[in-house]
C-alpha cells in the first residue's frame, strides 16, 4: 500500500459525497437498506461465510504448519460507483496500460524515451527488475503486460488517483468474480432493483487475449495453459478457478518440458505442444537455467523457447521495471510521450526534489508530506510528516539536503470510505479499488474491479493478510438523474 495514504483526516466519504447528502449512486441501495431488518444482514453475512468455505474459496496462510486455509472476509454491502465516474476510471486505466506497454517495448528496443530526455537512462538500467535478456526480443502484438491491475483511490465525487500499477502477476480477480456470484445468490432482489454492469465475461476476455498473442506460426488453434507454483501457493484457488473458467489446463512446472526450444506438456496421450503460458509465477522462478537455479517451480529451457518465439509468456518477462515506485512518477509523461494525450487519471501529486521549486515547497511543508527515497521500498527510508516528531523531521531534512534528487514527496492521502457491515452495524471503512486491464488485440477492462476494505475501524491496511476483506464493486449501468 502506498505510504501516501497513511493519514486519514481528509478521507472522502463515498456514501455521503462532498456535500454531505447521500450520493446519487447509493440512493436506491440505501432505500433498500432502510427497509431491511439488521438481523437479516447479519444472517446473510453468516450465510456468505459458510458458502465461501463450502466452495473452498480460501487462501493458504504461509508459515502455518497446520495447513489451515482461511476465507477472505467478505463484506455483503456493495461498493457503488456511478456510470460517469467509472467512465473516467475505465478509460484512464486503459490509457495508462497502453502507455506502459509502449514504454516496456521502447526500453527493450530503441529507448526513445531516454533519448528524448524524459527518463534518465540509469533509472531503467539500474532497476533490478530490468531484464537485459529481453533486449531486442519482439513479442506478439508488442504486448508485455497482458494483465494489469491499476490500484486507484477515490478522492472526490468524480476523481480517482492512481496509487500504483501492477504489471507482474496481479492477483485478486477471482474474488471480483466470486463476490459478484455471491451477491447475486444472496440478494437477487437487489439486482432487479439496481442495474449493475456485469463482470462475468472477464474470463472470456482473458482467454481471447491469450489466444490473440500466440506466436504467429501457431495462431490457428493455439494451446494456452495457466502455470501455477502449485497447490500450496496462497493464490492457488484463483489459479484453479481461472483455468477452469477458461477451460485451459492448470499446469505446474513439472508438467512442462522444453525440447528443441519448444514447450510441451506431459499428457496421458503423450507430449502436447504449448503456445501461450499465462504464468502466475515470478520472473525469478520461471527457468532454473536462466534465472534462479534453485527454482523447483519453473521449466528448464523456457527462456530459450521464449527467445526463439515459440511460446508467449503472459505477462512478459521484465515488466517489473515499469511498475515500481520510481518509475511511477514518469507515467503521466509516458502517456504524453507515447500517446500524445493528456493523462485521464492523475498520479498522487508527486514532488521531485531534483527540481528546485519542488524542493523549496517540500522543505517548507515537511510536516504535511510523505517523503520517500526514489529507490526505496516497503516503507524503508521514508518520512511520514504528520506522524513524525519535530526531531525526526529535522533529521530527515538534513538527509534530503545532502542529496535532493534521491527523494520524492507526496501529500498524505487517505483511502475513501464506504459503508461496511461490522459487528455494531453499518459503518464507514476505508477501501481501495483494483480494476483489471487486459491487453491482447485490443485493450479492455471489465466495469469495476476488486474493492478491498480495511475492516478495522480507522485502519488503512486493506491487505488480506492483515485484516482486510473484499466487497463486490457495482458500476451502475446508468446514473439516475
Amino acid at each position: 500500500m502506498n505510504a501516501a495514504v497513511e493519514a486519514q483526516s481528509m478521507a472522502y466519504d463515498e456514501l455521503h459525497g462532498a456535500d454531505g447528502t447521500i450520493h446519487p449512486a447509493y440512493r436506491s441501495y440505501t432505500e433498500w437498506l432502510a427497509e431491511v431488518p439488521p438481523e437479516m444482514l447479519q444472517q446473510k453475512r453468516l450465510e456468505a461465510d459458510l458458502l465461501f468455505r463450502r466452495l473452498g474459496i480460501t487462501f493458504a496462510v504461509y508459515g502455518d504448519e497446520s495447513g489451515v486455509e482461511r476465507a477472505i472476509p467478505f463484506d455483503i454491502i456493495p461498493r457503488i460507483i456511478s456510470a460517469k465516474a467509472w467512465d473516467t476510471v475505465g478509460k484512464g486505466c486503459i490509457q495508462r496500460v497502453k502507455a506502459l506497454n509502449m514504454f516496456l517495448h521502447d526500453i527493450y528496443h530503441n529507448q526513445d524515451i531516454v533519448k528524448a530526455g524524459i527518463i534518465p537512462e540509469e533509472q531503467i538500467l539500474s532497476n533490478p527488475a530490468y531484464r537485459p535478456e529481453m533486449k531486442g526480443i519482439d513479442l506478439p502484438g508488442n504486448v508485455y503486460a497482458h494483465v494489469a491491475g491499476v490500484d486507484v483511490v477515490k478522492v472526490s465525487d468524480e476523481e480517482f488517483y492512481v496509487l500504483e500499477d501492477n504489471l507482474r502477476t496481479p492477483s485478486g480477480v477471482s474474488y471480483m468474480l466470486e463476490n459478484r456470484r455471491m451477491m447475486m445468490r444472496l440478494f437477487p432482489d437487489l439486482f432487479s432493483k439496481i442495474q449493475v454492469a456485469p463482470v462475468e465475461h472477464y474470463s472470456d476476455m482473458l482467454l481471447k487475449s491469450l489466444q490473440a498473442v500466440a506466436p504467429a506460426s501457431r495462431s490457428s488453434m493455439p494451446v494456452a495453459v495457466l502455470l501455477t507454483p502449485g497447490a500450496f501457493n496462497s493464490a492457488y484457488f484463483e489459479h484453479a478457478f481461472l483455468a477452469q473458467q477458461m477451460g485451459i489446463e492448470l499446469v505446474e512446472g513439472q508438467d512442462l518440458f522444453v525440447k528443441n526450444a519448444v514447450v510441451y506438456m506431459r499428457t496421458t496421450e503423450g507430449p502436447q505442444r504449448v503456445d501461450v503460458i499465462y504464468r502466475r509465477l515470478d520472473d525469478d522462478f520461471l527457468d532454473p537455467l536462466a534465472f534462479r537455479s534453485d527454482s523447483m517451480l519453473g521449466v528448464a529451457g523456457l527462456l530459450s523457447a521464449y527467445k526463439a518465439g515459440n511460446v508467449t509468456l503472459a505477462n512478459a518477462i521484465g515488466t517489473g521495471v515499469a511498475d515500481d515506485k520510481s518509475t511511477y512518477v514518469y507515467v503521466p509523461e509516458m502517456i504524453r510521450f507515447y500517446l500524445s494525450e493528456e493523462p485521464i487519471l492523475s498520479n498522487v501529486p508527486t514532488f521531485r526534489l531534483s527540481r528546485p521549486d519542488d524542493l523549496c515547497y517540500v522543505l517548507a511543508n515537511l510536516p504535511e508530506l510523505v517523503v520517500k527515497e526514489v529507490q526505496g521500498s516497503g516503507g524503508y527510508g521514508m518520512l511520514v510528516g504528520p506522524k513524525s516528531t519535530e526531531k525526526e523531521i529535522e533529521e530527515f531534512r538534513k538527509r534530503i539536503l545532502a542529496n535532493p534528487s534521491n527523494y520524492i514527496a507526496q501529500p498524505t492521502l487517505a483511502l475513501s470510505t464506504c459503508p461496511t457491515l461490522v459487528e455494531e452495524g453499518v459503518a464507514p471503512r476505508h477501501v481501495d479499488l483494483r480494476p483489471y486491464v487486459i491487453t491482447g488485440q485490443e485493450v479492455s477492462v471489465v466495469p469495476g474491479g476488486l474493492t478491498r476494505v480495511a475492516l478495522r475501524e480507522g485502519s488503512l491496511v486493506v491487505n488480506s493478510s492483515q485484516g482486510g476483506g473484499t466487497k463486490d464493486t457495482w458500476v451502475l449501468e446508468a446514473d439516475a438523474c
Binding site: 468455505r53 463450502r54 466452495l55 473452498g56 497447490a231 492457488y236 484453479a240 478457478f241 483455468a243 477452469q244 489446463e249 492448470l250 499446469v251 505446474e252 513439472q254 508438467d255 518440458f257 525440447k259 510441451y264 506438456m265 506431459r266 499428457t267 496421458t268 496421450e269 503423450g270 507430449p271
Partner: protein, 324 residues
C-alpha cells in the same frame, strides 16, 4: 489430459472409496462385537475379531509399531482417526479432498464441493467419535458421503478422460478391497465349511456379505441359507453385483478402453485378461484350485495393473522418451 491431473483424479477416487471400505469393514466388526461371545469365538488363534481389519488391510505391523495391545479401542482409533495410519478414514478423506483441491479445475464444482464438505464435516471428528454410541453413525455418514460423491460424479461429470480416470480409481480400489475381505474371512471360516446354517457361520458369513452390501442381494438371488461357495460366487463372478470382482474388472476394462490416445495398450491388455478370467471362470474350478490361491493371484494381477496404469499414463519419464 495432463498426466499429473489424471493421477490426482485416480487417487482422489481411490481414497474416497477406501474411506468407504474402511467404514464398511469396521462397521461390521463393530456390530459383531455386540453379539454373544459364542459367536465371536475365534476359530484360529490369530483370528481375534479385532485383528481381522488389520490383517485385511495389511496394516498389522504399522499397528503394532504404535500400540502394544490389541483391543477394540486401539484398533478403532488406529483405523478411524490416527494420523500416523495413511489408510485411516480421516486420512483417506483428507487425501481425497487434497487431490480434488489440486485438480478442482478438472472436476465439476459439485464433485469438489462434495469432497470438501465431507472433509470439513467428518475429517476431524475428535476423540469423542470413538464412543460406542456415536461410531455407528459416523461410519454411516462416511459411507453415505462416498455414495454421494459417486452419485454426484455420475450425475454431473462430462464423460471425458477426467471421468474415466476417476472411475478407474474407484473400481480398482473396490476390486482390491472385495478380494481382501473375502480372502481373510474365508481363512477364518475355512475350518468349518460344513457347518452350513450354524449360527456362527450365519453371522460370520452374513457379516462378510453386509460389509459389501450384499446380504440382501444374496437372499434375492439364491433364496437360500448362507453357503460359503455361493457367497464366493456372488462376490467373485456375478456381473450384476456392484462390488464383485467381475463387476469391477468389467468397469476397469471399459474405462481403459475409452481413454484415447496411443498410450495404455499394455494396461488395457492386462485389464482385458483380468476381465476374461472372471467372465469365463467357474466357481467349481476356483474352489478346486483353492480360493485363497485364486484371490492372491487376483490381487497380484490388480496390483500389476495399477502399476501399469501408473507407468503408462502418469509416469512422465516414459512420455519424454516417446517424444525422442
Amino acid at each position: 489430459m495432463l498426466s499429473r491431473t489424471a493421477e490426482h483424479l485416480f487417487w482422489m477416487a481411490r481414497h474416497i472409496e477406501r474411506a468407504e471400505n474402511m467404514a464398511r469393514m469396521l462397521d461390521v466388526t463393530f456390530r459383531m462385537r455386540l453379539l454373544p461371545a459364542s459367536i465371536n469365538q475365534p476359530i484360529e488363534p490369530w483370528a481375534q475379531p479385532w485383528a481381522v481389519p488389520l490383517i485385511t488391510t495389511g496394516t498389522a505391523s504399522a499397528y503394532y509399531a504404535l500400540y502394544k495391545e490389541l483391543n477394540a479401542d486401539n484398533v478403532l482409533e488406529f483405523m478411524v482417526s490416527n494420523p500416523e495410519n495413511p489408510s485411516s478414514i480421516v486420512n483417506c478423506l483428507k487425501h481425497a479432498r487434497e487431490n480434488a483441491r489440486t485438480v478442482r479445475g478438472s472436476i465439476t464444482s459439485e464433485m469438489w464441493e462434495s469432497l470438501n464438505s465431507t472433509w470439513m464435516e467428518y475429517g476431524n471428528p475428535g476423540p469423542e467419535i470413538l464412543e460406542t454410541t456415536r461410531l455407528g453413525e459416523y461410519f454411516e455418514h462416511v459411507k453415505q458421503r462416498s455414495h454421494m460423491f459417486r452419485g454426484v460424479t455420475v450425475g454431473t461429470a462430462l464423460r471425458d478422460e477426467s471421468f474415466f480416470f476417476t472411475r478407474l480409481g474407484t473400481f480398482l480400489e473396490r476390486a482390491d478391497n472385495t478380494a481382501r475381505i473375502l480372502d481373510v474371512k474365508y481363512h477364518i471360516l475355512l475350518p468349518s465349511p460344513q457347518d452350513v446354517g450354524g449360527a456362527q457361520d450365519h453371522y460370520q458369513w452374513g457379516s462378510l456379505l453386509r460389509s459389501v452390501s450384499a446380504f440382501e442381494a444374496y437372499r434375492k438371488i439364491y433364496r437360500d441359507t448362507i453357503h460359503p461357495r455361493k457367497v464366493a460366487e456372488l462376490l467373485i463372478l456375478r456381473r450384476d453385483m456392484p462390488r464383485s470382482l467381475r463387476h469391477c474388472a468389467t468397469e476397469i476394462y471399459s474405462m481403459l478402453g475409452r481413454i484415447l490416445g496411443n498410450t495404455g495398450h499394455e494396461a488395457l491388455r492386462k485389464a482385458g485378461d483380468l476381465n476374461a478370467r472372471l467372465e469365463f471362470g467357474r466357481i467349481e474350478d476356483i474352489f478346486t484350485s483353492g480360493l485363497h490361491e485364486y484371490l492372491i493371484d487376483f490381487l497380484d494381477r490388480t496390483g500389476e495393473l495399477g502399476a501399469g496404469i501408473h507407468q503408462e499414463f502418469f509416469a512422465s519419464t516414459t512420455l519424454e522418451m516417446r517424444l525422442a
